[in-house]
């Protein structure tokens, strides 16, 4: 067979990934330009390693990955337990191993492991995906995700736990969860959101839920139970809310009105909005951002890296970055769609939902429409574990393309 390189390597995904990494490196360079911290060269070094790793992984046949997925999953669970015992405590959470000057975050590793284990589990139906509309199968699938989530919440690292949870619904939806069940699952989110704004909004949310339930024209008893449950959830939200860490509560309230806490949790949001807004259409120019260069935004090379782009490259630069991410996400979904390998298909959807979730939360928080939850911008924020883990995901997604005709 004389296949062209375009058929063997997912060039589009490769090129866009490298483009994102380069943008990230430029942003890190600029963000650390005046402080002089040497994050740029570390990130550069690991980018090169990561890209080689990604290309290497794209050549691994899916069967090998699928077969080892449970072992990898178990190993990652063990690591998550171990990090709770001997991990290094950094800003309040025990989620790091310190190895020769580099911090290693086992939760990043667990992210991939969990997706692979879930994909392996779901792809093992007879001639099709497992039927997750059956309650036991649904429960097992959820358990695979919830075990690491519980361990990560124990660290405690709320942001990463949410990342894990974010993949459940898209993946289950992909393998055939009925829209009706899907909707029932997300009703509590609607109820909680309503409850957050007050009693009137809660009533509105419950009414909305009721109307949509009616539209599905399914069992009226089930509909009634769902509505009653959601009223209960909405009311008990208050208790749940108080179980959050105080700084997380503050961050959530400050999202909707940052001015309530301009120097505390709202500070970053105000400053990052100012930074991005003052960039205008074309930005202030590379290394010329006053907000970012003058360190208004602390540690902007990690979670607030998008500010750099917004301030120094303006609206044009921001849209370019968002577009690159959208291409990646669409490409991942498309790889999931075109591959005949069910295991990789599920895995790609898992990756796509994780990238999307990171993007929405991270960019959302810098432009003031999402709470400040510390999760990185994929492949752009400084962070070696995160960078490598995303590149491994991209490598596996590339293998879905390469082996698209293998069952």
């Amino acid at each position: 067979m004389n296949k062209s390189i375009f058929e063997r390597i997912d060039l589009l995904l490769l090129i866009i990934t490298i483009a994102v990494i380069i943008c990230g490196l430029l942003a890190i360079f600029s963000a650390t330009y005046t402080s002089g911290a040497d994050y740029f060269s570390k990130q550069l070094y690991f980018s090169v390693i990561g890209i080689i790793l990604m290309i290497g992984i794209s050549f691994v046949p899916p069967r090998i990955i699928a077969r080892s997925s449970y072992i990898i999953y178990l190993l990652s669970i063990v690591l998550l337990v171990v990090v709770l015992i001997i991990g290094k405590k950094i800003s309040g959470s025990r989620s790091w191993f310190s190895m020769g000057g580099f911090g290693i975050q086992p939760s990043e590793f667990a992210k991939i492991a969990t997706i692979l284990a879930l994909a392996n589990f779901l792809s093992q139906g007879e001639d099709a995906f497992r039927n997750v509309n059956r309650f036991p199968e649904f429960l097992k699938a959820c358990a695979i995700v919830l075990i690491p989530v519980l361990l990560i919440m124990k660290q405690p690292d709320m942001g990463t736990s949410l990342v894990f949870l974010s993949m459940i619904l898209p993946v289950l939806f992909w393998v055939g969860l009925s829209p009706y069940v899907l909707f029932i699952i997300i009703t509590p989110v609607i109820a909680v959101l309503g409850a957050f704004f007050g009693i009137n909004y809660l009533i509105g949310a419950i009414v909305l839920i009721g109307l949509i339930m009616l539209m599905f024209k399914k069992n009226a008893f089930v509909a009634a139970v769902v509505i009653v449950l959601n009223i209960a959830i909405g009311y008990s939200f208050d208790t749940l809310y108080h179980k959050l860490q105080p700084y997380q509560q503050k961050r959530i309230t400050a999202v909707f009105d940052p001015s309530t806490d301009p120097l505390g949790s709202g500070y970053n949001v105000i400053q990052s909005k100012v930074a991005i807004g003052s960039g205008g259409l074309l930005g202030k120019g590379f290394l010329q951002g006053t907000q970012t260069q003058l360190k208004f935004i602390p540690e902007q090379w990690t979670d607030f890296i998008f500010c750099m782009i917004g301030e120094e490259f303006g609206f044009a630069g921001s849209i370019l970055i968002l577009t690159l991410y959208m291409i990646i996400i669409f490409k991942l979904v498309n790889n999931a769609y075109m591959t005949k390998n069910r295991f990789l298909s599920v895995a790609c959807i898992g990756f796509a939902s994780i990238v999307l979730f990171h993007l929405v939360i991270n960019v959302g928080m810098t432009i003031g429409i999402m709470p400040v939850i510390g999760i990185p911008l994929p492949m752009m924020s400084y962070g070696l574990s995160s960078l490598l883990s995303f590149l491994v995901m991209m490598g596996i997604a590339m293998s879905a393309y390469r082996y698209r005709n293998q069952y």
Binding site: Y267, K295, F315, S318, G364
Partner: protein, 596 residues
């Protein structure tokens, strides 16, 4: 719902999210730009670098050796500076206007908002002028910095080294980018070796300023400020009184003194003369002063304790004794005939006298040359090299100041390379046996060797610093240096040490420094010098039974070992053991002897 529809559904969800973000970004960056840009301008922040004072140095008894004193540094914030004032400011700072302009231009990008250090150690008159004309001379300001101050009556130039403004070369060659223009960095001596500890870590204060550069106050109530970490103090093994006395004894002679505690290797005093005044390097260094030092024929910048490579003369005889006994050529009691001269081939080698059949102890006592001519030949070049290495020669001792030499310890390969294979004879070993010829040692190697003999084989790496004390938590961290054991029978050490005892207390070459109070031991040496008067050496230790000090004195062109080295070393050992005020009877010149 088939897979096609599901894909389409996901695409739709993503597209909606994308659209929402685009709308939000457009709202912020295109429609709200003016307002947010104004907000951002209001926000300019000035970063003030806070340089912590360098750590101090203390002697073994807690006396300050190297201190700090305040000085003024003039700064200019380039973004605020009015070019019309260029000539005036250059004038009061005594800098050529072009140079000042060039300097200011180098601060690009957002660094132009921050004050740049322009001139250190500025006179108080200039500072008051700047303070009075602050409104007119926009952007010109000053900071108070700490510069080095030396509170004692001695110099310690080569020990302490100096801390001065980093050079352009130093800036471009640094690893990382901690140092900025105008920063101070340790060069030479302990200031250089312990730079990362002494300097601390710079801090930053953030001050909000409006677009015009007017200060509005501390940013975020100072919560974003990064406090500096003060430099750590060095605690030295040095004895202030002994150091002062040693420099005084050295007077205008050229040479070196180093004394250590043989039990640990801690350096008690360290003198290299001629030396220079460190305070001339503390603030701004006058280039004329520096080039004068550099071109001085007496080489004051040269550290004679660690950089000289002179033959050790007769002070080498203990090493030959150990080598000969170690190789079974001698026993502690066997004798060798010394009849006043020695002939090898057709050349005759002289001695100070004829001593008859003498053992190794007596040979050291009287510094018998014939004895060691014979030992040189008997030991051979390979063992010569082996025992030299064993006692630390031909290699760096690892003393904690830079630029140490390895010296020269000849080997078979060395002579083969120098003269060609088979083109040299064993005759070279005759002179090498008495520590003359192609052999180069430094005083620091000599003192470590002497201390190892005194301690029956415990070889300690000589070092200044014993502890580093953090100024942020007061914790003291011990600094570890190497120790090793030179494993040879005790009877060998006893024979050699007995000889060193008799050099001073018997009928030896340094009887001139005999003391009734302390049992001083040692060995004189006179290094032949083809281009002038001989160099005078003395190595010694005391007291005999329980050594507390080991010393090496080297005087360039001072002649006999007993005429300069011995009296100086004797006086210092007495001073250290007996405390301040104590010394040998009479002055150094009056006890000068005339023996090798």
């Amino acid at each position: 719902m088939d897979i096609e529809k599901r894909k389409f559904f996901i695409y739709t969800v993503c597209s909606v999210i994308f659209a929402l973000f685009v709308v939000r970004l457009a709202y912020l960056q295109l429609f709200n730009k003016e307002e947010l840009a104004k907000e951002s301008d209001k926000n300019a922040v000035k970063t003030i670098t806070v340089t912590p004072p360098r750590g101090l140095m203390y002697d073994r008894n807690g006396n300050v050796l190297v201190d700090n004193k305040p000085s003024y540094t003039v700064t200019i914030t380039p973004s605020q500076f009015d070019k019309n004032n260029l000539d005036e400011v250059a004038g009061i700072l005594e800098i050529p206007p072009e140079e000042l302009l060039e300097n200011l231009k180098s601060f690009k990008g957002t660094n132009r908002f921050n004050p740049a250090k322009i001139k250190r150690d500025v006179d108080f008159k200039v500072i008051s002028f700047i303070a009075e004309n602050r409104d007119r001379l926009l952007g010109v300001d000053y900071q108070t910095d700490a510069i080095r101050y030396y509170p004692n009556n001695f110099r310690g130039s080569h020990t302490f080294g100096y801390a001065s403004e980093i050079s352009e070369k130093g800036l471009s060659k640094q690893i990382g980018d901690y140092y900025k223009q105008g920063d101070v960095v340790g060069s030479n001596g302990l200031e250089s070796t312990y730079e990362p500890y002494l300097r601390g870590v710079k801090g930053y204060d953030f001050i909000t300023v409006d677009v015009k550069g007017r200060e509005l106050g501390s940013l975020n109530d100072g919560k974003n400020d990064i406090p500096p970490v003060n430099g750590s103090d060095l605690i030295l093994g040095m004895d202030r009184d002994l150091q002062e006395y040693a420099e005084k004894l050295m007077g205008n002679s050229r040479g070196a003194i180093i004394a250590v505690d043989p039990r640990t290797g801690e350096i008690l005093c360290f003198v290299s003369k001629p030396d220079f005044d460190l305070s001339s390097f503390a603030g701004k260094t006058d280039p004329k002063v520096f080039s004068a030092l550099l071109n001085d024929p007496e080489k004051p910048l040269f550290n004679r304790v660690v950089q000289t490579k002179y033959p050790p003369g007769s002070t080498w005889k203990m090493l030959m004794s150990m080598a000969a006994m170690g190789e079974g050529i001698l026993t502690p009691t066997s004798t060798v005939a010394c009849n006043g001269s020695f002939t090898y081939g057709n050349r005759s080698f002289a001695d100070h006298g004829a001593y008859g059949n003498i053992n190794v102890t007596r040979a050291i006592e009287v510094s018998a040359n014939v004895f060691y001519y014979k030992m040189g030949l008997a030991v051979g070049i390979d063992n010569y090299n082996k025992y030299g290495k064993l006692f630390g020669f031909g290699q760096k001792t690892g003393i904690d100041i830079p630029n140490e030499t390895s010296g020269l310890l000849p080997s078979q390969q060395y002579f083969d390379k120098r003269y060609g294979e088979n083109k040299w004879t064993q005759g070279l070993l005759v002179s090498l046996g008495i520590g003359q010829g192609e052999l180069g040692v430094s005083p620091v190697q000599m003192v470590a060797y002497t201390a190892a003999l005194a301690m029956n084989g415990l070889y300690c790496q000589p070092h200044f610093v014993t502890k580093i004390r953090s100024n942020s938590n007061g914790l003291e961290e011990e600094v570890k240096f190497e120790q090793r054991r030179i494993d040879m029978p005790q009877s060998y050490y006893d024979a050699v040490k007995k000889g060193m005892f008799l050099v001073v207390n018997g009928n030896g070459t340094a009887g001139n420094i005999k003391s009734s109070e302390f049992t001083l031991c040692g060995k004189t040496g006179t290094a032949q010098n083809s281009s002038g008067k001989n160099h005078s050496w003395f190595v010694g230790f005391a007291p005999f039974d329980d050594p507390k000090i080991a010393i090496c004195v080297m005087g360039e062109n001072e002649g006999w070992g007993s005429s300069f080295g011995a009296p100086v070393a004797g006086a210092l050992m007495m001073r250290y053991l007996g405390g301040p005020g104590k010394t040998i009877d009479g002055d150094i010149k009056s006890v000068a002897g005339g023996q090798d």
